[in-house]
């Protein structure tokens, strides 16, 4: 499989000034991300996640090693449209409305006006921002700003998406939509490198993860490999109480440990959706 | 959350009550505005004044000076300097009536200083003293102005008017003596205007006041001269005017003692 992102001994050290010592933000790391994969970058605050993304977006010069994106150096002009970067935090140019903001992004990506507007309309619809109309971006909630940032990143239909906390501040529906979009991008051959603190989401959609700590790469690999063990568990649903007791007894006889036999519960997401939009719980449908 | 209207209504009511109880005074507003503008503007108003003196015309220069003094209304020396400059400015080259022009400027300068009295505070008397000397200096600069002032008693009459006001404000010996020593010029002005009776009254007052002059020898000499002039004006041609005729301080009267 072709490589979308590659790094060899990539390192970033922020120079010290005066009595302040230099800060190694990213210690030499090797990295290969094949095309069509969703890779999560995990790590506590200050572990180097954002620095890694900024280097790959061409916004931060590495102090050691090399990096390529789509076989080009990250600062290559050709990557401006092929690679999209969604930084964390509030959006700039926040006195514009969402359509104006996307029109600006489209113009800078050299999209023809009509095509830019059509794509913008499509993504605004998909990301549930149509209702924002002519409101200024500064009046948007955090979640709306994140969704608009993603729309801006997707506007140029990039091959590589570098996302910094793409679901931070999003409600569960928004997160679900974003996850779905990322899956679709990956299915279409796109590559996603996303930094996140939402471990469940990462576990849900990422093919691989990198775990950084203090600028060092602590673990790397497919989720199945990193999370897998020799032991197996059995989760059973849909039996009546008698059948359940028999199954538990058999399990004990075979030397297994029965951890819990509990009544079946709805998923929290289903309950949330029921309360939020009045639809019936997923389990009841 | 709905906001209760009562606090807003109460605030509006209090404002209205305050407005009625103590209506806003324009002077207070003016002083407040000046206080805000002063620190930021003062250096630049100074440089603008200098620039107006270098490249602008007289009107602009004095308008700039007024701006400066609007920011520092209590600066009496500043008022005095600019009012004197205004009164003593040379007549325009194409002026057809230099005396009238000088008279006009003197009136404006005196009005300027009169306006400054309100903010002069404890220095009001000093301001009046400088006002007293301005007409005489202006006449020296533009002799044609003397002709214009003759009918009203000459510059000395104006000087006496302001000295009297200064004396009323601050009856210091110096002010009283200044009025006493002004008597010959004032009397000469009145004589020139044809008011012999008033001139003699001025001399009588000065003779009476000469007892208050602190320098006893000077007081005696001054009183003696004034008495001689007074007697001569009263028709006593036997009086010896040699000392008066030799005293420069009585020069204004010489023309009327022949």
């Amino acid at each position: 499989m072709a490589t979308a992102i590659s790094a060899r001994q990539l390192a970033v050290t922020f120079a010290g000034r005066g009595k302040r010592a230099a800060v190694p933000a990213l210690q030499p790391l090797d990295l290969d991300v094949p095309r069509g994969r969703i890779v999560g970058v995990l790590g506590p605050n200050g572990s180097g996640k954002t620095t890694l993304l900024r280097v790959l977006a061409g916004l931060q010069a590495p102090t050691g090693g090399t990096a390529t994106v789509l076989d080009l150096p990250p600062t290559a002009r050709a990557l401006r449209r092929l690679v999209a970067f969604q930084p964390e935090g509030p959006l700039p140019l926040d006195v514009l409305s969402a359509p104006e903001f996307l029109a600006y992004v489209g113009a800078e990506l050299d999209l023809p006006n009509a095509e830019s507007d059509a794509r913008a309309a499509r993504w605004l619809e998909r990301l549930d921002l149509r209702h924002a109309g002519r409101r200024r971006v500064r009046t948007f909630s955090t979640g709306m700003q994140r969704r608009l940032a993603l729309a801006a990143a997707l506007l140029g239909e990039p091959e590589v998406l570098l996302l910094d906390e793409p679901t931070a501040g999003l409600d569960p529906f928004g997160s679900a939509v974003v996850m779905q979009i990322l899956r679709e991008r990956a299915a279409a051959g796109g590559t996603v490198l996303m930094a996140s603190h939402h471990l469940l989401e990462v576990e849900e959609i990422c093919d691989e993860v990198l775990v950084l700590q203090g600028g060092k790469l602590r673990a790397r690999g497919p989720l199945a490999t990193l999370l897998g063990t020799e032991a197996r568990s059995l989760v059973v649903r849909g039996l009546d109480a008698t059948a359940m007791d028999r199954l538990a007894a058999t399990a004990r006889e075979l030397g297994g440990e029965v951890l819990a036999v509990e009544p079946q519960r709805r998923h929290l997401f289903a309950l949330f959706r029921q309360l939020a939009d009045g639809t019936r719980p997923e389990a009841e449908r | 959350m709905t906001r209760h209207p009562l606090p807003m209504v109460a605030a509006a009511g209090c404002m209205a009550l305050a407005w009625v109880a103590a209506p806003p005074q324009p002077a207070v507003g003016q002083e407040l505005a000046a206080a805000f503008v002063r620190p930021a503007m003062l250096p630049f108003v100074w440089s603008s004044l200098e620039e107006a003196g270098r490249t602008g015309d007289d009107a602009e220069y004095f308008a700039r000076a007024r701006q400066l003094l609007e920011l520092m209304p209590a600066w009496t020396d500043g008022h005095t300097v600019f009012a004197f400059r205004l009164a003593l400015a040379p007549a325009p080259a194409d002026a057809t009536d230099p005396g009238g022009d000088a008279w006009q400027r003197l009136q404006v300068a005196l009005a300027w200083l009169e306006g400054a009295r309100a903010t002069a505070g404890t220095r009001e008397a000093d301001l009046l003293l400088t006002m007293a000397f301005l007409p005489e200096v202006a006449v020296l600069q533009q002799p044609a102005l003397g002709e214009r002032l003759r009918a009203s008693g000459g510059p000395a009459a104006l000087a006496d008017h302001y000295l009297a006001a200064a004396e009323q404000l601050r009856g210091s010996p110096a002010v009283r003596e200044a009025r006493t020593f002004l008597a010959p010029k004032l009397a000469a002005g009145l004589l020139a205007a044809g008011d012999r009776r008033q001139a003699m009254a001025v001399l009588d007052t000065a003779i009476e006041r000469s007892f208050d002059v602190r320098d006893r020898a000077l007081a005696g000499e001054w009183r003696q001269r004034l008495l001689e002039v007074r007697r001569w004006l009263d028709g006593d041609r036997a009086v010896d005017l040699a000392a008066v005729q030799a005293d420069e301080r009585f020069a204004a009267l010489w023309a009327h003692l022949r």
Binding site: L59, P92, L93, Y104, D117 | P26, A59, A93
Partner: protein, 342 residues
């Protein structure tokens, strides 16, 4: 559909500046009217002097310039360092200044739109004459002293049609008993007037004949006061009148220069400093260049209100120091921002 140009940083910044600055500018004009009424109490008998009303025109002009500069610096996230969302814009922008140049141009365009009515309509309300005259400062001769026994001073006019000649020499100590100097003024040999000068900077106007004049000659005709006709002491007022609207437009253009310098220096500071530092530098420079008179803006406003043709009083050569300073700051800012941060 929004036109292509309207989607670019220049137009976006211009719109943002206009939206942010029109109300403060209007309020400043209102305040200027109020302050003029409260502080500039006229003294009856003193001649009207529109040239002294520059503070009341400076106020809204300065507010418009400052509001546009502030909005541009705050709007464009790459003007100063450490701004939220700057990375998003930085990836999209081309050019060494990453759109900052366009943002500055947008701010200047917005400022021009706001200051044009101030420099034309508001200036007229403040008393600027309806027509402007060209006032030319005649270059001082190599030996500028005029006294008894000295040769006449000659000034080349190159066929200008004049309305007036203004004299404003420096006076020296009298060479004998004090007697004001008498100066004869001649145009191409024809005597047009006599000036009596007694003190330094005494201002004398002499009416000139309405015909082309090649040379102006000043001859000492009497008096003991020596006169020094240094730079700026002889000015000629041309006969032709110019449009006050164009004069206001020129003044509004000149007023862009301080903003250009201020924003360029803000860009320079902002390469490493955060927004408050960049804004402080910009405001400080703006204030010194306008109200402080360091630059052509103050002279342009003065000339506008005096009814002098701004183009002659503040010729293009006077713009050059500001243009050079702003351009230099831009170039250095460009060099500092050339590569991604290390």
């Amino acid at each position: 559909m929004i036109g292509r140009a309207w989607r670019r940083p220049l137009a976006l910044c211009c719109r943002a500046c206009l939206a942010a600055a029109w109300l403060p500018t209007l309020a400043a004009a209102g305040l200027a009217v109020l302050l003029q009424a409260m502080l500039a109490v006229p003294l009856p008998g003193l001649a009207d002097a529109p040239g002294a009303r520059t503070p009341w025109l400076h106020l809204p002009l300065l507010v418009a310039a400052a509001a546009c500069a502030a909005r541009a610096a705050a709007f464009w996230p790459l003007v100063a360092a450490r701004r939220q969302g700057a990375d998003l814009v930085a990836r999209l922008q081309r050019g060494p200044l990453r759109g900052c140049g366009a943002a500055v141009a947008g701010a200047l365009l917005a400022q021009f739109v706001l200051t044009l009515p101030l420099a034309t309509v508001f200036a007229r309300w403040l008393g600027a004459p309806a027509r402007a005259v060209v006032v030319v400062e005649l270059p001082s001769p190599p030996r500028p002293l005029l006294a008894a026994g000295q040769p006449p001073l000659t000034f080349a006019l190159g066929g200008r049609r004049l309305r007036e000649v203004h004299l404003r020499p420096l006076a020296g100590p009298p060479t004998g008993a004090f007697e004001p100097a008498t100066v004869e003024v001649r145009c191409d040999g024809e005597r047009i007037g006599t000036a009596t000068l007694a003190e330094s900077r005494q201002h004398v106007r002499i009416a000139a004949p309405p015909r082309p004049v090649q040379t102006l000659e000043l001859t000492h005709a009497g008096g003991t006061v020596p006169l020094l006709f240094g730079p700026g002491s002889v000015t000629a007022v041309e006969a032709a009148e110019r449009s006050a609207a164009w004069n206001g437009t020129t003044a509004a253009v000149v007023w862009l220069l301080p903003s250009f310098v201020a924003l360029a220096v803000a860009l320079l500071c902002g390469a490493h400093a955060a927004l408050p530092t960049a804004l402080t530098a910009a405001f400080g420079l703006l204030f010194v260049q306008t109200v402080g008179g360091a630059g052509p803006a103050d002279a342009a406003v003065r000339a506008l209100l005096r009814g002098h043709w701004v183009g002659a009083t503040v010729p293009f050569s006077a713009w050059l120091p500001s243009l050079a300073a702003g351009s230099l700051a831009m170039i250095v800012a460009m060099l500092l921002r050339r590569r991604p941060g290390r």
